[in-house]
């Protein structure tokens, strides 16, 4: 058995495609903190000091190898002037689209991070986490990719109209979103984030055909990622990744968040030593996992993807749902602790225990 590493050492070793002491476990807690504290999600996110304390508590309790400053995706559209709708037990959502008509796109302004209360709260959380954890635990910040943000800015149906029928306005919105994305990512890095998770669900062929993505958005993703002054993880938020793997590797991102629909064995073979993989526990199914199911799923994933490093266990969407029972998270952590130690033990293929 290898000497126990800090979370930072463990993650960095895996990212350099070597085997650390055990497979890193990234449990991405955002609104789950409110559940742990039995308080409203809105009140929770309004208190950066409380979020910092809770992140540290959750990281320790569930033996996760990261801290997560992310609150909710709509915080970015909020900075553009949009509304956020809070619910009792789910992620806060964007309200009515802030761009009611495509013709309003030229009048949109680049948000000022300093005067956005929501973004300032995230930066306060990031600074607090950095102060508490130093360089011992990676702090993951989040941005929504320029190509994916319009789903919240416009609504999906209107966005498709923009993509296919209003190319000039599409280009204007992409330029604005890219400038914001770079500014927001770099502000989080300056506040102490170790890496930036670049959420880009629309890059997945689950959402849009590959040829269209490569033609209208991929070059912008490459340009945007190149301007972010720190390591990035491109995450397709449950979408499949294998068909665009080579392009994502070429975009110089260090990590790929893959979906539950991906063929893990093929993905691992093609990604080996080119890009690290993070995923792909099904967070929706996780709500109802038995201890046996949690163990068999994690063991199977380790057997498929962990050999040689370059792999970090996480969920496939980028957030642990509010409804997941704490016992399931403990089961996951126990299984990683037992079966994720390097050198890996031989793992037989379990029967589905669902």
């Amino acid at each position: 058995m290898k000497t126990e590493m800090t979370s930072m050492e463990r993650v960095l070793t895996a990212l350099s495609h070597q085997e650390p002491d055990r497979v890193p476990l990234l449990l991405l807690f955002s609104l789950y903190g409110a559940r742990e504290l039995e308080m409203s999600i809105k009140d929770y996110f309004m208190d950066p000091e409380l979020v910092v304390k809770t992140q540290l508590m959750l990281q320790k309790k569930y033996r996760s190898d990261c801290l997560y400053s992310f609150a909710y995706g709509a915080i970015e559209t909020e900075a553009f002037g949009g509304e956020v709708v809070f619910t009792d037990d789910g992620p806060p959502n964007a309200g009515e689209p802030l761009i009611g008509s495509l013709d309003l796109i030229p009048s949109l302004n680049l948000p000022d991070i300093g005067s956005s209360p929501g973004l300032q709260r995230i930066l306060a959380v990031t600074r607090g986490l950095k102060q508490a954890a130093g360089d011992s635990i990676p702090i993951i910040g989040v941005v929504v990719a320029p190509f994916s943000l319009p789903v919240m800015q416009l609504g999906f149906e209107k966005y498709l109209e923009l993509i296919y029928f209003r190319p000039e306005l599409f280009a204007q919105l992409m330029a604005l979103n890219s400038a914001f994305c770079v500014k927001w990512a770099n502000a989080q890095l300056a506040a102490g984030a170790t890496a930036i998770c670049y959420f880009n669900p629309l890059a997945s062929p689950t959402m849009i055909e590959k040829d269209t993505y490569l033609k209208i958005a991929y070059p912008l993703d490459c340009q945007t990622l190149a301007k972010i002054k720190g390591p990035t993880a491109t995450h397709l938020a449950s979408g499949i990744t294998l068909p665009v793997l080579d392009e994502i590797i070429a975009s110089k991102t260090a990590i790929l968040g893959f979906g539950q629909g991906d063929d893990v064995t093929r993905l691992k073979a093609r990604a080996s030593h080119k890009i690290a993989l993070v995923g792909n526990l099904n967070a929706i199914e996780m709500v109802n996992w038995s201890p046996e199911k949690a163990q068999s799923t994690v063991k199977t994933l380790i057997s498929q993807a962990a050999a040689g490093g370059g792999f970090l266990i996480s969920d496939s969407h980028g957030e642990i749902p509010y409804q997941v029972p704490p016992e399931v998270l403990v089961n996951i952590a126990d299984t990683v602790a037992e079966w994720g130690q390097y050198p890996l033990k031989s793992i037989g293929v379990d029967q589905d225990a669902s």
Partner: protein, 181 residues
């Protein structure tokens, strides 16, 4: 008359094939499906009076999006159900449990199709089932949307009668459910 029947069958087959193609990932992505069904909606509005399947004693179908506001899936399923000649009432999106149950009662719906996007919304279907049981409503409940695709047993957990993966799958379900009444 025979020629008209042939044309009608061709129209319906094309529509159902498009839906099936979408669900089987030949039309591989949401964007392609959206474009296809925008075209289909236009075709339906123009041609439905002529080509709509003639169903006698159609059950009353209700459709709505629970809590969420993403209505693409609802539009797709509604288009297919309409073309198949069923009487369908669109309750809209962003509906609360109470609203959807009240509308189901008011319209005397036989089969209710509920679409969701987010997990908490999908779990709220359980409350629809409880309301149905409490009010002794016999309406069949078919669910669809991302959470049900990501967890294939979720429809059972929330007390639905069936998991409507797409418009094509919904048609035989409606026919089967109604036949058992």
């Amino acid at each position: 008359m025979e020629q008209k029947n042939n044309h009608r069958q061709l129209f319906l087959d094309a529509l159902l094939a498009m839906d099936r193609i979408g669900s089987e990932k030949v039309l591989r992505d949401a964007a392609q499906q959206q474009q296809s069904f925008e075209a289909v909606e236009q075709i339906i509005s123009r041609m439905l009076p002529e080509f709509r399947r003639d169903r006698k004693n159609s059950p009353k179908i209700g459709i709505g999006v629970l809590i969420d506001h993403h209505a693409l899936g609802k539009r797709i399923v509604k288009a297919v159900v309409q073309a198949e000649g069923f009487e369908i009432f669109d309750f809209g999106d962003g509906l609360s449990v109470e609203e959807i149950v009240d509308k189901t009662m008011a319209y005397r719906i036989d089969v209710l199709l509920v679409s969701t996007l987010m997990l908490p919304s999908a779990l709220k279907v359980k409350e629809i089932r409880q309301q149905f049981d409490h009010r002794k409503i016999k309406t069949w409940l078919i669910v669809g949307g991302a959470p049900f695709r990501l967890d294939s047993s979720l429809w059972l957990q929330v007390g639905a009668d069936a998991d409507g993966k797409n418009g094509t799958a919904v048609i035989p379900m409606i026919e089967r459910l109604v036949a058992t009444q």
